[in-house]
Symmetry: C2
Subunit: 165 residues, 2 copies
DNA sequence: GGCTGTAATGTTATAGTATAACGTTTCAAA
DNA sequence: TTTGAAACGTTATACTATAACATTACAGCC
């Protein structure tokens, strides 16, 4: 219980988010090149919109943005791009919110473990391999072969719990 | 990392499921009495339908069943009953499937940790408090106050992995 | 460069999940 | 028996996601 990595931290409200977007797009580019995947203009644009902030983004919010640029944009466009980004490991789906967040460590495959603030909606991504392994082991003990896991924690981030009570 | 309990095991294909339903309804009854909650006819009926088997049940599947009994049944009826059952701790929502399963241990509050077979859809519910605590601790280390967690593991159950490969 | 096949995107329609809003009934407590 | 809140009925609509088929873009070949 120890080598927990923080893939996406809770950010200060004042941080330079343009830099977050930039670095995500650069990682995505090289990640795709390495895997022989095509990060097309549309996919890149959708990824950029997912990284609009550090809160989960809904498919139809992305669609709304796209429609400002192309009046005729339709749901399949968004969902196809999101499918690609999910498979490429560039975004994660937050199941409990039907929404998407950018992945903070696309270089190495993982399922994502998320802390979600119910007040400000900020999301942090951590990687706690010990926990993932413990779950796999518990499953294995029942003869179950785990190949995917969803871990989503809800609560209050440090900022919000300071203010809220 | 050890005192894992099995709240709902993977069942033999031949087990007496009427008994599962019965025992769930009896637990539910006493659980509601203890908490001063009203397990009405409708809520009881919906709970019974959630326990139709050991696979997750969709809200609209429940609705379809209800409509066999009352032609006019509508979505809010189902969702209201499900909300009650969720709050009463009698069912869990599987976020990654938008579906519901009966809770195997409604007497004590917990969030549920699920093993979901992608082949036969069977679901087992376990309670591994050590893992829940480890997640809370990891969150706490970041100043995050966790109050709820979603843990869903996908893979192949023992039966299906024996046959599949 | 021009061909060619596959991958990506466009387009229209529809399926599936969930809640808002307001009216009516039920039922336990006063 | 009144009465007020909780439960349920009813209608409409919002939100999430995919099916199916047409068109365009683009890498690999000649
Ligand atoms: Zn940022
Ligand atoms: Zn990630
Ligand atoms: Zn059973
Ligand atoms: Zn199975």
């Amino acid at each position: 219980m120890s080598k927990r990595r923080i893939l996406v931290p809770f950010k200060k409200r004042t941080h330079d988010h343009a830099e977050c977007i930039d670095s995500a797009l650069v990682s995505a580019q090289s990640s795709c090149e390495r895997q022989g995947l095509r990060l097309t203009k549309m996919r890149r644009r959708v990824l950029e919109l997912v990284w609009r902030g550090h809160t989960p983004v809904k498919a139809y919010d992305i669609l709304e943005e796209l429609r400002k640029e192309d009046r005729a944009a339709a749901p399949p466009t968004v969902y196809r791009a999101l499918d690609f980004l999910l498979n490429a490991g560039l975004v994660h789906r937050i199941e409990s919110l039907s929404a998407f967040v950018g992945c903070g460590g696309p270089a190495t495959p993982h399922f994502g473990q998320f802390l979600i603030c119910r007040e400000c909606s900020a999301v942090a991504e951590i990687d706690a391999p010990a926990i993932a392994r413990a779950l796999v082991a518990d499953a294995e003990a029942l003869g179950f072969h785990a190949d995917r896991q969803t871990i989503e924690i809800k609560g209050l981030c440090a900022d919000c719990s300071r203010l809220d009570p």
